[in-house]
């Protein structure tokens, strides 16, 4: 699947949750949202992108969330 599309979607999710005053909670919420609503193949592709391409295009909070909670997301 087009990674650009996944990056856009992940960043949109990040934009919603980063309003939370608790950044650590926001990261968890970002990952949990992706975990609950994205197919495994899409999640794996996103993790791969975060790892191999230094998460190019991902908002910092989204990239951090993916790296930090990778085990939860896979």
């Amino acid at each position: 699947m087009n990674i650009e599309q996944l990056i856009t979607m992940a960043n949109q999710i990040g934009t919603f949750f980063k309003s939370s005053p608790d950044t650590e909670q926001a990261k968890k919420d970002i990952v949990m949202h992706i975990k609950r609503f994205w197919a495994l193949s899409m999640r794996l592709q996103l993790i791969e992108h975060a790892q191999s391409n230094a998460g190019k295009g991902l908002e910092p909070i989204v990239k951090d969330a993916i790296i930090q909670h990778q085990a939860l997301l896979a």
């Binding site: 087009n2 919603f16 609950r36 609503f37």
Partner: protein
Amino acid sequence: MSKYTDFGTPAKTSDNQITLEIDGTQITVPEGTSIMHAAMVGGVTVPKLCATDSLDPYGSCRLCLVEIEGRRGFPASCTTPVAEGIKVKTQTPKLADIRKGVMELYISDHPLDCLTCATNGDCELQDMAGAVGLREVRYGYEGDNHLKSEKDTSNPYFQFDPSKCIVCSRCVRACEEVQGTFALTIQGRGFESKVASGTENFLESECVSCGACVQACPTATLIEKSVVQHGVPEHSVTTTCAYCGVGCSFDAEMKGEQVVRMVPSKNGGANHGHSCVKGRFAWGYATHQDRITTPMIRKSIHDAWTEVSWDEAINYAASEITRIQAKYGKEAVGGITSSRCTNEEVYVTQKLIRAVLGTNNVDTCARVCHSPTGYGLKQTLGESAGTQTFDSVMHSDVIFVIGANPTDGHPVFGSQMKRRLREGAKLIVADPRQIDLVSSPHVKADYHLKLRPGTNVALISAFSHVIVTEGLVNEAFVKERCEIDSFEAWRAFAAKQENSPEALSETLGVPAEDLRAAARLYATGGNAAIYYGLGVTEHSQGSTMVMGIANISMATANVGREGVGVNPLRGQNNVQGSCDMGSMPHEYPGYRHVSDDATRALFETAWGRPLSKEPGLRIPNMLDQAISGSFKALYCVGEDIVQSDPNTQHVTHGLESMECVIVQDLFLNETAMYAHVFFPGASFLEKSGTFTNAERRISPVRRVMTPKNGFEDWEVTAKLAAALGYPMHYAHASDILDEIAALTPTFKGVSFKKLDELGSVQWPCDDANPAGTPTMHIDEFVRGKGKFFITEYVPTTEKVNAKYPLILTTGRILSQYNVGAQTRRTDNVAWHPEDVIEIHPHDAEDRGINDGDWVGIASRAGETVLHAKITERVQPGVVYTTFHHPESGANVITTDNSDWATNCPEFKVTAVQLTKVSQLSEWQREYKAFSQEQIGFVHHPKNEANV
């Protein structure tokens, strides 16, 4: 034909009971009841013509006169309320004499053609002539009369024959009181009095063809043309309309298997005997010649279709799915259900995908309409559904309509809402466009917040700010019912200056003082209810807005009782139901996530197959993965993604990339043109099942005729499952509902038997609520404590610029439905033969565009051409169109932008430019050629006739 007792005047409710005597019988009724109604309660029928219990009493026909002991004269029983201890006589020699004289006058100006009249045997005038014992008419036809008055047959569905009119005003009053359109009037005085539609004929008038006047008419003056054609029906079956999310109950009045007319059921919980032009009249598509009733297969979409037997089609589809899964893996296939399907059909389809194909790649058309509602309300209140009944609006003091157009999209509820507004409820409308509710006869919005498309969340932020900073929070409610931490975080967010009306006014394009005043009205005006539609959900922040709506309803305690609440107006008939039935890729029936071990174990045990714990692909994901090469087969039941989903070119590219597309539908719809297998579907008149409307009301769909394709749709899905090695042992749709009830807590008490007994029931229906739950969240929220969410406004990335300076927003109109596959195949095209582009006079002038010109509409996604309609309904900078006709290509120009949480497309905001053109767009020309080729591929009687 009517199977309902007509009590003559509406029922009244009162704590005080009144006992009176009518014809020697003691009768007790609520205070305020008319003598006529009381008499009917006691089994005494009083002759009447101008009275019917759907309308307020009028007292004009003089047939219902009675005598009351101790009172002078002969009062009309319809307009005279009961009083304690009075003694009423309905039959005396004097009354008989008066009534006979009145009837004689009526009949003296009425054609005596009863034997050849279309309502012979179903005419109240005829009945009353018999009831009063009229035996002769002393006045001949020599004098002036109306017998040669010309018929108005302009309306495609009903005719108006003034020669048969008795000027009882029932039609005029129905138009006013029931429908609220005020299209009819009594013109002239005395002998010259006549019913008039304000223009030369009904078709060109303000009449919306709801049919309330036809239903109210006691003679053959206003009558369905289908009754004129077929005669009076001989039996009726109560079923549920297959159009919008109101879910009106109808009596299909039949002659054998021929529908003679659809009459809205008086007992219908959602509609109470009212209807719109679609439900009452636009059912002819069910027998339209375009119906495909024989299964078809083909290897390539560039091949002609081959008609095959059901077995051959089913086996071919099964073999293709098996082949593709063997070659590409089980995740390479998926299914799409539709909100046009019954609950039972959706249930068996998702069961097939999950249990038989072993994947959760199943989605539904709610993806592109109300998926943000499901997400947003689940997060905040705990349940993915509206909180009220439709009747709740009659207890509202403030009605806040956001991004919805009830009089067009949900017309029967729109009429009910207008009734409440005429009673004095206040109205706030937030919409970029001037919908009818903003200003229509006897209804005027107190505030029309004409916000810019895409700024909904800024609107709710401004409301939140006013509520929080002006002390309008109901602190006690919040403390008792909500999560305090989430509330405090939201309160701090809302209080920020950047969320003030003054700060957001420019963004919204709405004066700050109007925002403040409207927010105050919502928060302090009494019972305040929010009604919203796709103007809320179909945005990149659709889910955020739904949560924002829930936030302010909780903060002001406007949830959990009658008259208030959060009310999503669902677009199609079974949006709620299709979501309830587990048609989304991440959840089972009853909104339980697929990763929940206990729930998954429950379904694994019941279905006897291991199930995946991973969420599946959504519709746009399926298409994306098809283009990238990993998604290869689709089973699409009742949905037309090529026409209804955004970025048409992307959708068709996705379908073209698949190896097997199976479409099950009534017609060769736009998606079927990209299919390899076509399973003919059955119409709602040909099947049994249930629909669940916007108020969670589960209503029965009853089969009134044999399926022309041979099978109900659930049977086709079951056949496919069997061919894939998984027999489904259902004998009837009721067996499927029983399985749903056994596995879904909120449906636990639902069965066909219960629906037969109660008519309909609103879920949750369980041991604690055996008759259903009209109002939700009364004592506590479904999730326990209500949760507030911070809803920061984030402008859409779909921005206007010099190249695309206008914002296109889309919507629907009264006479057409969704992609139009049904309504375009009815006489409703008389009102909407094509989609047009609405443009403000200033924008039109800037571009040299005149009304009716061909206009090219270009966006970043594509280009199409429509005729221009210049109107001040849209504001400068905004243009508007509908998507009811495929050749319009409305979704050729919409983009892939979508809601952050659910991928619901951002249909409501597309940056475009308009230019005057002289020919169709390239896409339209290609579409026309492709469409004609595809229709030619069908071995169809119509095509053969054209050869």
